[in-house]
């Protein structure tokens, strides 16, 4: 107030709606382009779609609700095992088992979330890890249901919508996972643009203030957690269906860590961070493993450290800064 006269008229940011709309189409165009131009890469692309969905569900927590968790694989694994176990017992409709996987993960999320969301910060991080370890050991011991260390083998799923059999080349899995990812993406986008999504941002920014404007913080964060759990479970179920196999890895701490790294690389809280981070992580992993099959994780660590130090917003952060620079250049 002291230096700034009230009469300054501030430039209202001009919305470049058309340009932005075109940008939104990029990930989907790339996905279809891969299908058209690189036959044989369908299984890899499918794997990426699953991980993008998984990272997207984590973004809802980390990027919007401000809940940092190291146990997200617990929910992914719950979805994968639910779909896998149902298929092993002869109930193998893909969409129905995917919905069951979502439901089971949502229930597990409700159970663990209602305990751990009473805490914050480091305690929350520890509890989230513990919850995933618990599930991991449960699956490890319940060999009759899960196959334990050997994984759940010999499962097969019926045709999608009763029409499209999962084929050897992975084309059905490709379009099925892409379609589900697209619907889930639309859902998440609607959610984060809703008043609910904005109240999550408010909690992330300043939970004390949010409480003082009458927001039921615990309830709101739990709702977000259960939704993210359902989406993670959906991703897990898709993974089980696309690979016709469930290994203990789906519940592992390593996977919880990887998905968080993917999200950080891509940029959390940007909606599209998952779409950039997952391919970047998987390509880097592939490249590094070729260079040095034993110590490739060293390279991964260096990339992550570099990213956090020099580009804290991840790939999306770099993109935003570039776009801002271009705009500044364009404006006289």
């Amino acid at each position: 107030m002291n230096q700034q006269p009230a009469s300054i008229t501030l430039p209202v940011p001009v919305r470049r709606r058309t340009a932005l709309t075109a940008l939104h189409a990029i990930p989907w165009a790339v996905a279809l382009g891969v299908y058209a131009l690189f036959p044989g890469y369908e299984p890899l692309a499918t794997q990426m779609f699953v991980m993008i969905l998984f990272a997207l569900s984590l973004d809802l927590l980390v990027g919007y609700a401000g809940i940092v968790t190291l146990g997200h694989a617990g929910l992914f694994g719950t979805g994968a095992y639910t779909a896998g176990i149902l298929a092993a017992h002869g109930f193998n409709d893909p969409i129905a088992t995917a919905l069951c996987g979502m439901g089971a993960a949502a229930l597990v999320g409700l159970l663990f979330g209602s305990c751990m969301l009473r805490t914050k910060g480091l305690a929350l991080l520890m509890l989230s890890m513990a919850s995933a370890f618990l599930l991991y050991e449960l699956a490890n011991k319940a060999t009759g249901w899960t196959g334990g260390d050997d994984g759940l083998q010999g499962i097969s799923f019926g045709p999608v919508l009763g029409l499209f059999e999962f084929d050897f080349r992975g084309r059905t899995a490709f379009f099925y996972t892409l379609g589900v990812l697209f619907l889930a993406f639309l859902f998440v986008r609607t959610l984060i643009n809703s008043p609910f999504g904005w109240s999550l941002r408010g909690i992330r920014e300043n939970d004390r203030r949010m409480g003082a404007i009458g927001c039921p913080i615990y309830q709101r964060r739990l709702t977000a957690y259960v939704i993210a759990a359902a989406l993670a479970g959906l991703a897990g179920a898709l993974q089980a269906q696309a690979t016709q196999f469930v290994a203990l890895h789906v519940l592992s701490f390593e996977l919880s860590g990887d998905v968080l790294v993917m999200l950080i690389l891509g940029g959390s809280g940007h909606l599209y961070g998952a779409f950039l981070g997952v391919p970047l992580f998987m390509f880097a992993q592939d490249l590094l493993a070729k260079q040095d099959p034993t110590n490739w994780q060293l390279g991964q660590g260096i990339i992550l450290i570099g990213m956090v130090l020099f580009a804290p917003g991840g790939m999306m952060g770099i993109g935003r800064r570039l776009m801002a620079a271009v705009r500044r250049r364009a404006r006289p």
Partner: protein, 261 residues
């Protein structure tokens, strides 16, 4: 000593106490606030003013005693419930959503107040009545021109005004202001006072501040807290004339000296 004793109080405390360990920060406070009243709470640093406000707003639970809102016992009522019942507040240390714009800050409060904040499937900022309310509140505190600026980029004084707009968005019957002019140069605190004077008459306002010009111009009644207890209560003229208050708080120079000790 108070002049308004006829009306029914909207907020009342009975023998309110709060201990931090063995230290009594609030001691047997019997306090009444009437609808539409303009009250100031003053006292030296460490007198327990903010603690008292925290007890009223539900941020802290009292060790003993009662708090009544319109005669209803709300001692055990949660902070969130009390907000819904009409107790709004601002904070001594600015507490906003730093990365969100001024309009978004106010919108979040409007959305909570109007019960749409839990909605999933309709876009935020798309509802005309809520957006109009948010804009009207920004206008009321003179922030219309910076509606699209992030709160953290606003000059400090305007952040204080945004705090008030956020609190007003909750349609309070009682507004508790914890040092609204804190950190603002004394020469400019009149801006805050101007805004406070336009507050709807039916809202009861209880304010803490160290800026004595602001306090004495704003308040109808002043309560002086010393070491957690009510030292004296009265009109600004009575307080200014009170020798004991001069001694413990205002210093020898009286209120012209801007005692900010």
């Amino acid at each position: 000593m108070t002049e308004i004793v006829t009306a029914v109080p909207c907020l009342e405390t009975q023998d309110l106490c709060r201990f931090f360990g063995p230290v009594r920060v609030t001691g047997d406070v019997n306090f009444t606030l009437h609808p539409g009243e303009r009250r100031a709470l003053i006292g030296p640093n460490g007198a327990g003013k903010t603690t008292f406000l925290n007890l009223l707003s539900g941020r802290l639970a009292p060790s003993s005693g009662k708090i009544l809102l319109d005669g209803l016992d709300i001692t055990q009522t949660s902070e969130v419930r009390r907000i819904k019942m009409g107790i709004g507040r601002t904070f001594q240390i600015t507490s906003l959503f730093p990365k969100l714009t001024a309009r978004q800050n106010v919108y979040l409060a409007v959305a909570e107040c109007e019960g749409i904040a839990g909605a999933f499937f309709r876009p935020a900022f798309s509802h005309a009545p809520q957006m109009e309310r948010a804009d009207e509140l920004l206008h009321r505190v003179g922030l219309s021109d910076v509606a699209e600026i992030a709160a953290e980029e606003l000059p400090y004084g305007r952040q204080r005004l945004l705090e008030i707009a956020v609190a007003l968005a909750l349609r309070p019957k009682i507004l508790l202001l914890d040092e609204p002019a804190a950190g603002i140069p004394t020469a400019e605190s009149h801006v805050i006072l101007d805004i406070l004077e336009t507050l709807p008459k039916e809202i009861a306002v209880c304010l803490i501040d160290h800026d004595m010009d602001l306090v004495f111009r704003f308040a109808q009644t002043i309560t002086v807290l010393v070491q957690g207890t009510v030292f004296v209560e009265g009109t600004p003229a009575e307080i200014a004339a009170d020798e004991r208050v001069r001694k413990v708080y205002l210093g020898e120079g009286g209120h012209d000296g801007h005692a900010a000790a």
